[in-house]
């Protein structure tokens, strides 16, 4: 494969950055339209569909009965995985999980796990014998930029609306999964030399490194990740961190609103 990033696109992105605008006319810290729908998939115990610009992502939650690990007899488990299958875009190829899909799944997983929003003890049914395993699977159907935020949002929304299928497994009555918090991810991409929020596919193609920040309800950091080639300064981080705080508050409200429906 020859180098895919056309030098011309980079030039144009640099020019736009100097003019203080972006390729689709947005401002530096302006996000694209977002829509969130939950409970949209038969057979999933929790589900969400997120549309961010031209990016479309589904997340589904499934439960299984497990034997707990011997050293943690009262704890269930949580697992979050992302598939970047060839459906998502022309550049994706079939094959074993790519480093990109592994990183995506693990970053989303850490944001949720480390926020502590799932109390593993609450997943215990019979200590030492039976606990719930909760599995969030994320499926990217259309990648037009910033799949990290779309996946993070879909994952937590699916989780927060999940119903534990206790009846099907003969261990009590169905009940809503207990989720204590709404960790939200905000991602930034260096485009034309500066960071922007919610990059689209052209900005990612002609851009550089990304920073992914997951924040909890109190504005604490639960996960950070830098991806791709590039370096940043502490001052740059301080600036995007402020933007991330605002972005996360907005998206968290959207999740709350969906639940209210």
């Amino acid at each position: 494969m020859v180098e895919l990033v056309p030098a011309l696109l980079r030039q144009e992105l640099n020019r736009l950055a100097e003019e203080g605008t972006r390729i689709d006319g947005r401002e530096q810290w302006e996000a694209r339209d977002v829509s969130l729908e939950t409970d949209c998939l038969y057979n999933a115990e929790g589900s969400a569909k997120v549309v961010m610009g031209g990016t479309i992502v589904y997340a589904g939650v499934k439960f299984e009965l497990r034997t707990p690990w011997p050293d943690r007899p009262t704890q269930g488990s949580l697992m979050c995985g992302a598939e970047l299958r060839p459906v998502a875009g022309r550049k994706y190829e079939p094959g074993p999980p790519s480093p990109e899909s592994i990183e995506l799944g693990r970053v989303v997983d850490r944001g949720i796990r480390e926020s502590g929003c799932i109390d593993m003890e609450s997943l215990c049914i019979v200590p030492g014998e039976k606990v719930w395993g909760v599995m969030i699977d994320i499926h990217v159907l259309s990648d037009q930029g910033n799949i990290f935020d779309a996946c993070g949002l879909a994952a937590i929304a699916a989780l927060r609306t999940a119903v534990v299928p206790a009846e099907r497994f003969d261990v009590g009555e169905d009940h809503t999964l207990q989720v204590n918090g709404t960790p939200i991810m905000a991602s930034f991409t260096r485009v034309g030399g500066r960071f922007v929020l919610d990059a689209n596919e052209h900005e990612e193609l002609g851009g550089d490194e990304r920073i992914h920040i997951t924040l909890g309800d109190e504005g604490h950091l639960h996960s950070l990740q830098k991806g791709l080639k590039g370096v940043f300064t502490p001052a740059e981080f301080a600036e995007i961190f402020d933007v991330a705080q605002k972005r996360c508050v907005e998206l968290r409200k959207m999740v709350a609103k969906t639940e209210g429906n």
């Binding site: 998939l41 038969y42 057979n43 999933a44 589900s47 031209g54 990016t55 479309i56 589904y58 589904g60 939650v61 499934k62 299984e64 995985g81 598939e83 299958r85 060839p86 459906v87 998502a88 875009g89 022309r90 079939p94 074993p96 999980p97 599995m135 699977d137 499926h139 159907l141 259309s142 990648d143 037009q144 099907r168 596919e201």
Partner: protein, 243 residues
């Protein structure tokens, strides 16, 4: 077909089915074209509770070289069930059933796409099942046909995926999940609505020659109904500029 579960009743005393359908009545079907911005063509088919999404990419250069054909395009199909699409979660990765369905679906689509127009190229068709309630391979074929049309790939006809089967010794159209689990036969086919030819054929269970004839008759009837919905979806797409 599991067969042998004689104690599960699938037909009511009035001859109608558990969900109230008549023996030759199919589940509700709705289709939307152009649902995925990243794809060259796409479609979503909701067939009963099944949800199938298809994306088409190409024609593009065929890579690696050894898959190229000098005189035509190859059609590369992946049929995949999302982990959350079934009652028990499916582990991502290699799966014999998916591989077989992908193969025979690809061969069916190659039968209608004018592949000779694109020598040495590849057309990728990605079928993703988001929710499964019996009949996903047929919903996937239908979605792939619409997505190919949406991508502007020339075809000599569409393929409509439909299935009939047998429950309690009665031939019925379009098995749902319970009927599939406890029924006696399933006959999924891919029909060319204009020529009446068959491009996709599988069957398992037990059918007498006469039952086969009746099941096929139902399938042809259903293919015409679904074909109309496919055409409407494409018209909406071009008129209203959906997606």
């Amino acid at each position: 077909m599991m067969g042998g579960y004689g104690d599960v009743k699938l037909l009511k005393d009035d001859g109608s089915r558990l969900d109230g359908r008549k023996v030759d009545e199919m589940r509700p079907v709705s289709i939307q074209a152009g649902v995925l911005p990243a794809a060259d063509g796409s479609a979503m088919v909701t067939h009963g509770l099944n949800v199938a999404v298809a994306a088409v990419y190409g024609p593009m250069e065929a890579h690696p070289r050894k898959i190229q054909r000098q005189d035509r395009a190859v059609i590369d199909v992946r049929y995949n069930m999302a982990p959350f699409s079934t009652s028990d979660r499916i582990r991502p990765g290699f799966n014999r059933r998916s591989r077989e369905i992908s193969k025979v679906t690809a061969e069916s689509l190659e039968s209608v796409v004018l592949v000779e127009r694109y020598p040495r190229s590849k057309i990728r068709v990605e079928i993703e099942i988001l929710a499964a309630e019996a009949g996903t391979r047929c919903a996937g074929i239908t979605a792939a046909s619409v997505a190919l049309a949406d991508a502007g790939i020339p075809m000599r006809d569409m393929i409509v995926g439909v299935a009939s089967g047998k429950i309690e010794d009665t031939v019925v159209l379009d098995l749902d999940k319970a009927e599939d689990n406890y029924g006696q036969a399933d006959l999924p086919v891919g029909i060319l609505p204009n020529t009446g030819e068959i491009a996709f054929l599988q069957m398992d269970g037990d059918l007498s020659p006469e039952e086969y004839e009746l099941a096929m008759e139902y399938n042809f009837k259903a293919a015409n109904e679904i074909h109309e919905i496919m055409v409407e979806a494409l018209q909406r797409r071009y008129d209203g500029g959906e997606a």
